[in-house]
């Protein structure tokens, strides 16, 4: 009897504590899988940092919009010199940082001097190497001098790595970020959530949302439950395998869009037998892209035949360069002297698309006589083994940097592709600002690396967001990393 009474009391007690949580029409709670290590986008590569702060807390001179185009940001306009070496920016007036200090050209200079300094820990420092000087012309005008023309300069200014910070607060941005954006940082319950609130004195148009929290939920099943229960209002990129639950549910909308993630079967071009073009061509013929896309991305990936994003205007469809053809693959392997095939290792980082693609590719390669040993790795180990020490045969990874075809011009890069022609073309491309010329150059490089079968080109990762059906204004595509809150609103 005692036990039963106690139980009944316990249950009653628990029920009393229960109470419904009501969503406010100007608040949003977004579930995200990864918690950022810090909140300073200028001192780390983690995408999770940009997800929370990019364009919300911090702003750059320019900003990238949903289509990937460059729009005015803290700079309202700019002029570019004939030779493409001087950029003069006119800054917006009345801009303040969240701690009340005023923004002016000195902050711009400070931010870039910090980024380019000897002891800078900016993860993308190399992108800004062309900058040779930042000069304050007057408090509302700043001038950048480049050592060489850079076709991506404006785009790079719009990245999270190049946001403008204040000398008074820069050192603390990791724990307490202070920017100029429409949302100010309120609190970070570590391990749990980050809360932002609308910044009243914001210089631009006020956003519809007054408060936003990013809730960190790493487990897919748990995030599914949190969405279904209404404990979170959406997530910007949900695991493809979990989308079926939401697709036919009128309370939710599933947004499928593009990302900058070229997912490739990275191949160590320095190492036998991959130094042999015929071997790489055989591997390309052995791949059945559609099967991989179905199996590893539940059909959401977009096939690619080269290292370029399909939604980009410069993209060239080269998926037919080496169509899936087991016999052709076997013939090429025999010509290369591998009549009985060969064995190799495939090192896989801890992401679902890589682990799933790996298994499918192993079975596809087995058909042509290539025996793959799958090795699962953590990120830290992958970065050290594969990326830094180049100790690998094959790996699967999504390259998420926008317009990153330049990695094929760097023989020291981890996959070690060394082609003088591509290096020369890339140099010309970097120094060219004319759109038509840039397009021709970019497409020529795409074609060469596709024909050379440098890596196995698999698919472009999709962004698959799940949101409450009453929410609107979310970015469908992810041209840069971030969950931009400024346009999101509740539809009544």
């Amino acid at each position: 009897m005692t036990a039963r009474n106690t139980l009944a009391l316990t249950v009653a007690g628990l029920l009393l504590m229960a109470g419904p949580a009501l969503a406010q029409p100007t608040e949003i709670r977004i579930g995200v899988a990864l918690e950022p290590p810090t909140l300073d986008p200028t001192a780390g590569a983690a995408e999770a940092i940009d997800v929370v702060v990019y364009q919300n807390v911090f702003e750059g001179l320019v900003r990238i919009d949903q289509t990937g185009a460059v729009q005015p940001g803290l700079a309202k306009s700019w002029t570019i010199s004939e030779d493409g070496l001087t950029y003069r920016f006119a800054l917006n007036e009345g801009v303040t940082f969240h701690d009340g200090t005023a923004f002016d050209a000195e902050d711009v200079k400070f931010s870039f001097d910090r980024l380019l300094a000897e002891d800078s820990v900016n993860a993308q420092k190399a992108l800004y190497a062309p900058i040779s000087a930042v000069t304050v012309i007057d408090p509302m005008t700043v001038e950048f001098t480049l050592s060489r023309p850079d076709g991506l300069f404006l785009f790079n200014l719009g990245r999270g790595d190049a946001v403008i910070v204040a000398p008074e607060s820069a050192a603390n941005n990791g724990a307490e970020p202070i920017g100029t954006g429409p949302f100010a940082f309120i609190q970070w319950d570590r391990g749990s959530r980050v809360v932002l609130e609308q910044y009243g004195p914001y210089w631009g148009e006020a956003p519809a949302l007054t408060r936003a929290s990013f809730v960190f939920i790493s487990d897919t099943a748990t995030l599914t439950n949190a969405l279904l229960a209404g404990d979170v209002d959406g997530t910007n990129n949900f695991a493809a395998e979990a989308l079926a639950v939401f697709e036919n549910n009128p309370q939710f909308k599933v947004l499928v869009g593009s990302t900058e993630g070229e997912t490739i079967l990275s191949t160590n071009n320095r190492k036998e037998p991959f130094t042999d073009l015929k071997v790489r061509q055989a591997m390309a013929h052995a791949l059945d892209r559609q099967e991989i896309i179905e199996g590893a991305t539940y059909g959401y990936g977009v096939p690619i035949g080269t290292h370029f994003a399909p939604h980009h205007p410069y993209y060239l469809d080269l998926t037919d360069t080496y169509p899936h053809d087991v016999e052709a693959a076997k013939t090429l392997l025999a010509e290369a002297g591998y009549t009985d095939g060969f064995s190799a290792t495939l090192k896989l980082p801890p992401v679902a698309y890589a682990r799933l693609s790996g298994q499918i590719i192993a079975s596809q390669f087995a058909e042509v006589g290539i025996e793959l040993e799958l090795i699962n790795m953590e990120w830290a180990q992958w970065l050290e083994d594969v990326f830094a020490n180049k100790d690998f045969d094959l790996t699967i990874i999504s390259h998420v940097e926008p317009f990153d075809i330049g990695i094929y011009a760097n023989p020291d890069y981890y996959f070690g592709y060394d082609n003088a022609q591509v290096q020369a073309l890339n140099e010309t491309l970097n120094a060219t600002t004319d759109e038509a010329d840039r397009l021709a150059l970019a497409q020529e490089i795409q074609t060469i690396i596709a024909r050379d079968a440098v890596n196995g080109y698999l698919f472009e990762l999709a962004q698959t967001g799940v949101w409450n059906a009453k929410l609107d204004g979310m970015w469908q595509n992810a041209p840069v990393e971030g969950v931009v809150l400024r346009d999101i609103y509740w539809v009544e």
Partner: protein
């Protein structure tokens, strides 16, 4: 040769053992983590970072010093309460651990209390009805409770009470000082999920211990003196059966502090388990080291307390040990 001498010797031996355990644990933790492949600086800066930037960060993090120097600095710092700075979060490790303890400690306590309140009465009831249908039913229930993984039970609770009924949140944690009621609501389902297997184990241990005790002479004497079976068990049995239960409770508490990671994941709670898990994958070795040593301290201290409690409850143990 008084009992006082024995007691002092016993305490000294136990404390020395405690200190030695901690030192060995610190050494093992440090060495194992140092062998782990992966560079924390590279992890933070990602694949596009220049070698100079990675080198600059390594220096900032203090990773340049040789291993023995870093070990001594770490142990020396801990002796004065300084656990160092987390490499990824750039915050004092002690502060990060304390934040997580505000979740893990109450959660473990709730699970303990629920498991005691539910488990012990069930065990006593089963022992009193030994061999009868009630006993069988309760023990089948307890066996099931032990067999069900707590994360699965947690997901079941979520589906029923959070997704379907919407009485409680699916997870997450609101800080105590912000809304204590909400914090308590957030702890309810994970607390229950954690308590179920513990309560089942306690029920089984309690029943077995009590059945053993009832076969002892003093119970027979009590019965002979005219007590009913229930009276005899209540007056004399339960107290004597608590000794093995105490041991299990100590083990369970240590387990709850360290072993809640899966349940923390299911309920996205910012507890110690998740902190360590994330820190390992981010190669935040300073944080992993600090958090692990705290767990070692909690576990060995709990065992020490149980040992001492034993010695006081059963004075024979002191003599035997010395």
């Amino acid at each position: 040769m008084g009992g006082g001498f024995h007691m002092t010797l016993f305490l000294v031996r136990r404390m020395a053992g405690f200190a030695a355990t901690l030192f060995v644990a610190a050494l093992v933790i440090f060495l194992l983590l140092d062998l782990l492949p992966g560079d924390p600086a590279r992890f933070i800066l990602g694949i596009n970072a220049t070698p100079e930037a990675v080198a600059a960060l390594r220096t900032q993090m203090g990773l340049d010093a040789p291993a023995h120097e870093r070990f001594l600095a770490w142990v020396g710092g801990m002796l004065v309460g300084d656990f160092g700075l987390s490499t990824t979060q750039r915050l004092p490790v002690a502060e990060l651990i304390a934040e997580r303890m505000a979740v893990t400690l109450p959660l473990s306590l709730i699970a303990m209390v629920v498991s005691v309140v539910v488990g012990l009465p069930i065990g006593i009831l089963a022992a009193m009805r030994r061999g009868k249908a009630t006993d069988t039913a309760l023990m089948v229930l307890a066996q099931t409770g032990v067999a069900i993984p707590n994360f699965w039970f947690g997901m079941l609770l979520t589906l029923v009470f959070a997704v379907t009924l919407r009485w409680l949140p699916t997870g997450g944690f609101i800080p105590w000082d912000e809304d204590a009621g909400a914090a308590m609501r957030g702890m309810t389902l994970p607390g229950l999920a954690l308590a179920l297997p513990q309560a089942s184990i306690l029920a089984r241990v309690m029943r077995t211990a009590l059945v053993d005790v009832t076969e002892q002479d003093f119970i027979r004497t009590a019965r002979a003196k005219g007590m009913t079976k229930s009276e005899a068990i209540w007056r004399h049995g339960v107290r004597n059966a608590l000794l093995p239960v105490l041991t299990i409770l100590g083990l369970q508490f240590a387990f709850l502090i360290a072993g809640t990671i899966i349940v923390e994941n299911v309920f996205y709670l910012p507890g110690l388990g998740r902190l360590i898990f994330t820190a390992i994958s981010e190669r935040d070795l300073v944080l992993v080291r600090g958090a692990t040593i705290v767990l070692v301290v909690v576990t060995t201290a709990t065992m020490l307390v149980v040992d001492l409690a034993y010695a006081f409850v059963d004075p024979r143990l002191k003599g035997r040990d010395a």
